[in-house]
Symmetry: C2
Subunit: 443 residues, 2 copies
C-alpha cells in the first residue's frame, strides 16, 4: 500500500482551519499545527477586551472542531523555521515532514519601528491581549475612584485609542458605552460619564477601506457617543501617562491613563523566515508575495494563505487581511491539493468573492458596505449581529453569545468585567506582585 | 449634622459581601475593600479549573452587586496592616479610617511547611489558580499526544490529586470525566481514557466531614469513574515529574505529569497581622480566635467573619470554612452593628444554622448530608445542581451557567477548554516565553 501524501498546515486561524476542513475525506494525512489549542473568532475579540464576552465564548478547541475528521491530526506546537530541502517544518518540539505545506500563521500588531510602545499601548490580537486591555480599562476607573486628586482622576479617565480602522472604532465605541452606560451608577466619587475618549487617526477619515459616506456615518455615530475623533493626527511619542500627537506641525501632549493600539499589523515572524528559506520576497508588512494560486514563487508545494499572504493579482490593491479572504484562500488551496492528487493540473488563479464588510460602533450603531447596498445605524447593526452570530463556529457558542448579548443589550450591563492576570492596578508598590504562583518564575 | 459612623469591611467574599448587603439602609457609611474587583462564587471554581465554565460565569463585580446601596463605597485595594490606636486599616494606596471594622479576608491554600510545592502542585483558590490548573491539565494531554515515548505518555497521562476533601473529590471526578468522555475522540495517538487519576488522602476515608456512609458512596462513585482512591497515604515529596507517597512506612514514587493540591487551607496573611496588632491569639491555621459575637477579644469594634475566624463556642469542633458560615456571620455582624447604632447592647452569641453540605463527584453523582436526610447519586446531584444555581449571585449568571451546564451535560463537551496565560506546555525551550506583552516585565 502506498503511503498517503502528507499535508501540513501551520496555523489554526480562519485560513488554516478552513483548509483542514476542506480536506475532509481527501486521501491525505493532514497535520494541523498551532501553538494554541483553540481557534479564535477574532472579529469579536474587542468584546472580550471590553467586558462583554468571555474568551471561551469566542474560541473553540481545534481538536473539538476537527474531531470527526479522522484524517486530521492536531499538534499543539510552535513552528520555528523551515528546512525546505528535506521538506520539513521545524517545531519547538521536533519537526514535521510534509509533501505539501500550507502556512497560515496570520499577523500581529505592529508599532512601525517603535516596538517598545507595546507595553504602553497594548494591541488586540490574542486572548491575553484582550484580557490585558480589559484589566487596564477597568483598573483606570478603579484608580480614578481612589485618587483624591482631581487632575489625576481626569488623566485616569482619559482613554486614547490609536488607529481609526475597525478595531479602533469598535474599541472607542465600546469605551464610550462602558463609561456612559455600564458603569454609570457603580462609582461614588467619580462620574464615569465624564470620561474622555479620543480616537486618533493619521488619515483624513476613519474606516478608510469603506466609502466616504460610511466613514462619515461612523464618525458621527462615535461623536454622538461622546468620542473625540481626531483626524490627521499622528502619534509621535508615548510615555507612561501621556501621548504626544502631532497635527499640522503642532505637537500636543495628552495626559491619558490608558492608551490602546489599533494602528497597524504585520505578518507573523514566520513570514520573513519562510521568505529567506524560499528565496522569495516579502512586502513592507512582512507578508509573502504569493503566486495567483497562493503558492510561494518557485515552490509549488508551499501555499501561503490569509494575513501572511500578499495577494494582488488582477487587483489595484492587495487583498485585505480579513477572515473571508483567509477562509476562501484556505478552501481554494484544499481544492488545488485535491485536484493534484487526482493527477489534474490546476492552472486557475484564486479569486476573492467580496461579500462586503462591516464595522460596529456600538449599541444599534454600525456601518456595512455590501457594494451597491450601504447600510448604517440600526439596519447595519442588525446585519452585523446576525452575520457574526451565524459565523461563530460552534452552535453552542452561538447560543451563549446570543444570551449574553441579549442580556447586555437589555440591561446595559457587561458581565465579564473581571480584572485578572498580571496587570497590576495598584502600582509597583503592591505586595501582590510577590504572591503569584511560584511556577511563573520558571516559564 | 453628626457624621455617620464608618464601617470598613475588608474582603468581598461571602462574609464581607453579606455584611455589606445586610447594612443596606443602615445609617452608616460602609466601605468595602477588596484587592479584586469581583466577588467569586468559589464553590464552582473547580468547574473553571476543569473547563466547564468561564471565570465570568462564577464571578460578578462587587460594584455591580452593590450599585443600588448608596451608603456603600467599594474600593479596590489591598489591606497590608492595622493601626488599631488610630482606628485605621493600612492599604497599599493609603489607609481607611473606621469606627467598626469587619475583617473577612478568607483563606488560601496551604502546604504545611512545604510552601515551595506550590509551583509543582497548584491549589485552587483564585481565578488565576483555576486557569493555571486548566492549562496544566489540558497541556498534559497535548504533550502526551506529541511524545513518541510510551512511558513518557503514561507519565503525562497520570494525574495526582492530593487531598480527599470536597475540592479534591470534585477535581478527581472532573478529571475522570474529561479523560473518559470529553476528550475521547479528539486525539489520534493516545487513548485519553487510559489516563490514570489518583486521589491521595491521608486519613482512612475521603470527605471526612461527612457521615461514613456518604464517604463510602463518594469513594465508590469515584472508583466507578476509574479514579484510584488511595487512603492512608501521605505525600512525602514532590519533584518535577513525580510524587512520592508513603503508606504504612512504605514509600512509593508515582511518575505524574500533573499534581493538584486540595489538601489544606490556612487563613489569609492578614490573620497573624491582626492578631499581633490586637494582642490576641490565632490557631494552627492562622485563624483569629473570636468571641461568641465574632469580635476580636478585647476589641469590640473589630469583627472577624468567615474562613479567617475560628469560632468554637458551644461546639465540639470549630465551624468549618464554608460559604454558609461566612454568610451567616456576615449577616449576624451587620445586625450587631445596627443594634449598637440604636443604642442597644447585644449580648447574644452567633449561632450557626447548619442546613447541610454537599459535594459533587461528577455527572449525576454527588453526596448530600442534610442531617437526618442523606442523599447520594442522582438525587444528591440534582439537589447540588439546584442549590448551586440558586445561590449564584446574579440572575444572569444563573441563566448562563444553566445553559452552559445543560450543554455540557447533553453533549459531554466542556466548552471553556482554552490553554491561556503563562503556563508553558512547550517547556523551557519555547520561544513563546519571549513573546509576552512587554508590560509584564514591569509588574
Amino acid at each position: 500500500m502506498q503511503q498517503k501524501k502528507k499535508v501540513v498546515i501551520v496555523g489554526g486561524g480562519f485560513g488554516g482551519l478552513q483548509a483542514a476542513r476542506s480536506l475532509k475525506r481527501a486521501p491525505v494525512d493532514v497535520t494541523l499545527i498551532d501553538r494554541r489549542n483553540f481557534h479564535l473568532f477574532q472579529p469579536l475579540l474587542y468584546q472580550v477586551a471590553t467586558g462583554g464576552l468571555s474568551p471561551a465564548n469566542i474560541a473553540a478547541t481545534l481538536r473539538n472542531l476537527l474531531r470527526r475528521m479522522s484524517n486530521v491530526r492536531v499538534i499543539m506546537d510552535e513552528a520555528t523555521g523551515f528546512d525546505l530541502e528535506r521538506k520539513r517544518i521545524l517545531l519547538v518540539d521536533g519537526e514535521a515532514e510534509y509533501d505539501t505545506l500550507v502556512v497560515a500563521t496570520g499577523s500581529r500588531h505592529h508599532y512601525f519601528g517603535n516596538e517598545d510602545w507595546e507595553g504602553l499601548a497594548p494591541g488586540l490580537k490574542t486572548v491575553e491581549d484582550a484580557l490585558e486591555i480589559r484589566s487596564r480599562i477597568l483598573s483606570a476607573f478603579e484608580a480614578a475612584e481612589k485618587t483624591g486628586d482631581a487632575g489625576e482622576a481626569e488623566r485616569l479617565l482619559t482613554f486614547v485609542v490609536v488607529g481609526g480602522g475597525a478595531t479602533g472604532v469598535e474599541l472607542a465605541g465600546a469605551l464610550a458605552e462602558i463609561s456612559r452606560d455600564t458603569l454609570l451608577h457603580e462609582f461614588r466619587r467619580i462620574d464615569t460619564s465624564t470620561a474622555r475618549i479620543l480616537l486618533i487617526e493619521g488619515a483624513d477619515r476613519i474606516l478608510q477601506t469603506y466609502p466616504d459616506e460610511l466613514s462619515a456615518a461612523a464618525q458621527s455615530a462615535l461623536e454622538r457617543l461622546g468620542v473625540e475623533v481626531r483626524l490627521a493626527h499622528m502619534v509621535r511619542r508615548l510615555d507612561e501617562g501621556s501621548v504626544t500627537v502631532e497635527t499640522g506641525g503642532r505637537l500636543e501632549v495628552i495626559p491619558a491613563g490608558t492608551v490602546l493600539w489599533g494602528a497597524g499589523v504585520k505578518a507573523s515572524p514566520l513570514g520573513p523566515k519562510l521568505a529567506a528559506a524560499a528565496g522569495t520576497e516579502t512586502d513592507g508588512q512582512d507578508r509573502i508575495v504569493v503566486e495567483p494560486d497562493c503558492t510561494v514563487p518557485g515552490h509549488p508545494d508551499i501555499f501561503v494563505v490569509g494575513d501572511l499572504a500578499r495577494f494582488d493579482h488582477g487587483r489595484r490593491k492587495p487583498l485585505p487581511g480579513v477572515a473571508p479572504v483567509a477562509m476562501q484562500q484556505g478552501r481554494f488551496v484544499a481544492r488545488v491539493i485535491k485536484a493534484r492528487l487526482s493527477g489534474k493540473t490546476v492552472t486557475g488563479a484564486f479569486r476573492y468573492r467580496d461579500y462586503g464588510s462591516m464595522a460596529t460602533v456600538g449599541r444599534s450603531k454600525a456601518v456595512a458596505d455590501f457594494g451597491r447596498l450601504r447600510l448604517k445605524g440600526y439596519p447595519a447593526w442588525g446585519a452585523w449581529l446576525f452575520i457574526h452570530l451565524m459565523k461563530i463556529v460552534q452552535f453552542q457558542d452561538r447560543l451563549l453569545v446570543f444570551v449574553q448579548w441579549a442580556w447586555n443589550y437589555f440591561t446595559y450591563n457587561r458581565y465579564a468585567r473581571l480584572i485578572t492576570g498580571r496587570w497590576n492596578p495598584l502600582g509597583a508598590t503592591s505586595e501582590r506582585a510577590e504572591r503569584r504562583p511560584a511556577v511563573e518564575g520558571k516559564t
